[in-house]
């Protein structure tokens, strides 16, 4: 288990390989379907994004409501594939890492190679456990989207595993092939 800091430096991105387990500390941004749509519309209009995306990490997540006295509600990853249509564009303007769960498109995997990025998975359904690694949460944009607003999170030892690295490595494919038994 390797400890890394977000924003993730290019040195670290170059070292990460599909299958590496990491604990992430630092700052990550939360956005899912509706927020992504709006980020792309903002870029299309030639306007500034609501946060500096250079070198940043986006976590695909829509938390449950925060109980009194808690930092955030349960906070596990949502299915990343729904964001595939928007991802190559965001990588091209500086996004470096994404955390979610589930399969990505070929276009996303190509964009990770081209723009030197990485896709990590958190454990789907480990939402109460993941919430423990979030030390601060604030809404920074698109408040009107409710549970889909963009949040800025501070995290300490957030558990994730590298699925797609910048060299074309793909844990979902490699891991499956390793344990497959063909009749």
């Amino acid at each position: 288990m390797e400890r890394i800091t977000s924003p993730i430096s290019t040195d670290i991105i170059e070292k990460l390989r599909a299958g590496d387990q990491v604990l992430i500390s630092g700052v990550i941004y939360v956005g899912r379907d509706a927020a992504h749509k709006r980020l792309i519309e903002t870029l299309d209009k030639g306007e500034q994004l609501p946060f500096d995306i250079q070198g940043q990490t986006i976590y695909y997540m829509g938390p449950s409501p925060t109980k009194p006295g808690h930092v955030i509600g349960s906070a596990g990853p949502t299915t990343s594939g729904r964001m595939d249509a928007y991802t190559p564009r965001l990588l091209s303007v500086g996004l470096r890492a994404m955390i979610g769960k589930g399969l990505r498109s070929e276009a996303v995997k190509e964009a990770l190679k081209k723009h030197r990025g990485v896709y990590l998975a958190a454990v789907g359904g480990a939402a109460a456990l993941i919430a423990k690694s979030i030390t601060k949460a604030q809404t920074i944009a698109y408040e009107d989207l409710g549970p889909e607003a963009i949040l800025r999170l501070e995290v300490k030892d957030f558990p994730a595993v590298v699925i797609n690295d910048m060299y074309g490595g793909d844990l979902y494919q490699e891991g499956k092939a390793q344990y497959q038994i063909r009749a």
């Binding site: 299958g19 387990q21 997540m61 829509g62 938390p63 449950s64 409501p65 925060t66 109980k67 808690h70 509600g73 349960s74 906070a75 596990g76 949502t78 299915t79 594939g81 769960k101 589930g102 399969l103 998975a121 454990v123 789907g124 359904g125 480990a126 939402a127 109460a128 456990l129 993941i130 919430a131 423990k132 409710g146 549970p147 558990p159 595993v161 699925i163 844990l171 979902y172 490699e174 891991g175 499956k176 092939a177 390793q178 344990y179 497959q180 038994i181 063909r182 009749a183």
Partner: protein, 281 residues
């Protein structure tokens, strides 16, 4: 004739919504622990550890097991000698969902106008209610919150009768294999064989309510369940889809007579956060 007050239905549904989202069933926990013992992939084992630790935290802190607290699927078995008083039964259930999702700090994930505006209804209603009239004077209520990630991987087909048993196996195994990491494996696989299109899918969903790993009472079906589980666990998908031996914890098959021309097969996948709680009134 037994009278049951609508407000008691509301209170029961509210409680079941919260309990289902906080407390994973003992059968699911036992199946996950067994999977942890058997899994060979080191990353797969770590994922199972996280899933088990998550269940512990959720129960202790009464936090949702998953941020996706699902649509509220409600199964009713209504005794024919029951009379509901003081309100509309389905309204009473929706009010229970409203209260349970609000009091439990559960995420509201229902959107209206699903093909266009997709406006959140803000209280997770309407629930999806399946009711059956049965003999007796009891009302059984089962609340089964269902998340989007696994539900999105549902599959349905009508095979040619000649494709038979092997056709069923091929269809189910490929559905689970192609779903890969998306439905949050290790999954429980609900399968409905026979009936009509809608009957097959309801059978598949009902199959998910069975105690995890309890075989079908029909010996031939139980043998099919075993073979399906064995085949699914050779795909290599594994916990979290990262590769491993345990892709599914159990396969539950329900069957119903079909038309002479048809062999309907429905697959409804359940993520490892297999949530359902029930009560008898």
């Amino acid at each position: 004739m037994k009278e049951i007050k609508a407000k008691d239905v509301t209170a029961t549904v509210a409680r079941l919504c919260k309990e289902a989202n906080f407390f994973l069933g003992e059968d699911v926990l036992a199946a996950l622990k067994k999977a942890r013992e058997e899994e060979e992939s080191p990353v797969g084992r770590q994922i199972l550890d996280q899933i088990l630790e998550n269940a512990d935290i959720a129960a202790k802190e009464e936090m949702p097991l998953c941020q996706d607290c699902g649509l509220a699927i409600v199964f009713l078995e209504i005794g024919q000698d029951v009379h509901i008083t003081g309100g509309d039964l389905y309204e009473a259930i929706d009010e229970g969902v409203r209260q349970g999702y609000s009091e439990g700090y559960l995420r509201k994930s229902a959107v209206d106008q699903p093909f266009s505006a997709r406006v959140n209804t803000k209280d997770n209603t309407p629930s999806i209610i399946h009711s059956e009239i049965v003999p007796g004077d009891k009302l059984k209520i089962i609340v089964a919150p269902k998340g989007g990630g696994s539900e999105n991987m549902s599959r349905f087909t009508v095979l040619k009768p000649a494709q038979g048993r092997q056709g069923v196996i091929d269809f189910v195994v490929s559905a689970v294999e192609e779903a890969g990491s998306n439905p949050c494996p290790p999954t429980i696989v609900g399968i409905g064989i026979g009936g009509s299109a809608e009957k097959a899918m309801i059978l598949a969903k009902k199959a998910l309510l069975r105690t995890v790993g309890e075989p079908s009472p029909d010996m031939e079906v139980a043998v099919l369940e075993n073979e399906l589980l064995r085949r699914i666990n050779t795909t290599g998908v594994g916990p979290g889809g990262v590769g491993g031996r345990i892709t599914s914890l159990a396969v539950h098959v329900e069957t119903y007579p079909a038309h002479i021309a048809s062999l309907p097969v429905a697959v409804n996948l359940q993520c490892h956060s297999a949530r359902h709680k029930e009560a008898d009134l």
